[in-house]
Symmetry: C2
Subunit: 360 residues, 2 copies
């Protein structure tokens, strides 16, 4: 690491630049000849009509010229509305989250809200700490992407009477609104596709059962396998310790140990699918010739993997938008019921799935 201090640019003419304080209503009122409450009324479009047009025009002009921006924080203190919403992510480096975040932000912005985003990891006490911070900052509501099926954090938020919405992952108890993708349907699509190709030995590498996505996708897999009348010994489920590439590789190894005849794998998500790729490659098996793999999420660049990954596309951006809408509604009407919004996923068939070898 190199640090370079460029030579000081020509110093300001006369010693210290006065640390220009931000303008306030009163400063402006002193310049124009009006009471500062009048300026306040003009700055807010909703109350502007209370002021005579010519006065308003003059005020606006000066405000613009002087670059006056009312202090939203002071306003928020007075009105009891911070305009802040907290977004709690388990891991922003997981490529599912950025588009969700973008969706959230886009609808919040329309309503004059701004998100405070934190990476809270998976540790519950850290999550709680982070949420306390946000509450201290007067967030009006919370979007949690960290929810578990029976999440103490959710109970905590509920106790605080703070509006909460869960995104991507749901909560089993139905206490809070959530927007999720239809995981049962997704797994049905996945298994239908695999069976349609001729596969009869199918493995599922599930995500953690503590997460609704892990639990529900496993359920969906089970239901689908039953629908196709696969028998015991024709399918197998292995749980990965987390939604990560490495955990996927490990679980894939265990799957092959328990079920060596497997010809197709429905992975809990795309990262897990990548772990499967890693395992297969290490063990000289080709995908899809020897083993087919299906992912979940259709993360960015899933199409650019080798082979391009067949996966389930979930409506990430829309998911974020919808979560923000739900939260805004809840903030507006705290008494409104919890709602579950379920988005329809779509199987994207690419190069990682093919018919099993003729040998079958």
């Amino acid at each position: 690491m190199v640090v370079s201090n460029p030579p000081r640019a020509a110093a300001p003419p006369t010693a210290v630049m006065p640390e220009r304080k931000r303008l306030t209503l009163k400063d402006l009122a002193a310049e124009i000849d009006v009471h500062y409450s009048t300026i306040s009324r003009v700055m807010n479009p909703a109350t502007r009509h209370l002021v005579a047009e010519d006065v308003a025009a003059r005020i606006l002009e000066v405000a613009e010229a002087r670059g006056f921006r009312p202090n939203r924080i002071a306003a928020g203190l007075r009105t009891q509305r911070s305009g802040l919403v907290g977004v709690v992510l388990p891991d922003i480096s997981n490529p599912v989250f950025p588009p969700i975040l973008a969706g959230i932000e886009s609808v919040l912005a329309q309503q004059g809200y701004v998100p405070i985003v934190v990476n809270a990891g998976t540790d519950k006490s850290r999550q709680r700490f982070v949420i306390d911070q946000m509450i201290g900052r007067q967030v009006e509501g919370l979007v949690l992407a960290t929810a578990e099926r029976d999440d103490p954090i959710l109970a905590y938020c509920l106790k605080q009477h703070i509006p909460v919405v869960t995104v991507n992952r749901g909560d089993d108890t139905g206490r809070v609104s959530c927007v999720v993708s239809d995981n049962l349907l997704a797994m049905r699509q996945t298994v239908d596709h695999l069976v349609g190709l001729g596969h009869r030995r199918i493995g599922h590498i599930a995500g953690p059962a503590t997460l609704s996505t892990g639990f529900l996708r496993r359920e969906g897999f089970l239901q689908a396998v039953k629908r196709h009348r696969l028998r015991r010994g024709e399918w197998q489920v292995m749980e990965a310790a987390s939604y990560s590439r490495e955990a996927g590789r490990l679980a894939c190894e265990q799957l092959f140990a328990a079920f060596p005849q497997v010809t197709a794998i429905a992975a809990g998500n795309d990262l897990v699918a990548m772990g499967c790729y890693d395992y297969l490659r290490e063990h000289g098996m080709r995908c899809p010739e020897d083993v087919s793999v299906v992912g979940h999420n259709d993360m960015p660049f899933a199409d650019a993997l080798t082979p391009p990954l067949t996966t389930v596309r979930i409506a990430v951006h829309e998911m974020g938008e919808e979560a923000a809408r739900l939260l805004l509604r809840k903030i507006d009407k705290p008494a409104s019921d919890a709602v579950t919004v379920q988005l329809t996923p779509q199987l994207i068939v690419r190069g990682s799935t093919a018919a099993p070898r003729a040998a079958e």
Copy 2:
């Protein structure tokens, strides 16, 4: 999209739950028998010693039991410190930014700051709007990942006397601190590698020259090519309209039109490199057998592309951390000079580069 309203859970026993207002110092003071200013002193570790130990203990106990969390916003109004820092991103879905953001957040958190993140796109007037919003929210400083080489937005921030730091991209004028990767060195590493493999016809697909990364990587390419005494006709530069896969594909097409003999491409970044992959594949050329490709950034999953991408790894997380540190310093000492922190990149050789065909 399916929306389901679960049947109302057993309604709360007696009609409306009183919208529990958040506790304040005064509420607490009423419960205990002290003045609220005393509680204030106890809640802040720095002033706690001013209060008698037994009183402090009792206050802490009640505060904890009642889940009291002081209103940071009100405190900020009083102390003129919001504890907020604005982070302006061009596009959070570009995989370089999440790790940078994570780095920023991690050091901010240590100091009790919290980031407000916005996706501001590339449009300058939108960026300005967004920054005005943030200033209105009293951010104490700004981290810009959107900087251009001579950026009016930067000038604007400077005029407002708001502490600013630029990350990933620098600004030519040296007016603000920035943390960047050493782009000249990176391109030297890239060209050395390619020449070392035996390539003598090398193309560079540059990022936009308005961005420091685009400009400097092009400079670095030029310098490197000169060092190796490649002659005119042995190298070529083509500029992509943006750092995107599609723009990369297009520029690659133009490169081949202008310079069909090219055997190796140094791409402006990994997305552009992916665009090159797309073009090559469409036109029946194999990478690296027919054409070698080098990326820049080592974004997540660059190793999982086909072929695994040889690319320059930049220290993204560290970049974010350092930017946050620089900003915090500037907030602390507004008079401190602008500093450029340059992180050392590292060429990661993978499967997308090889010796040119023997034919040479």
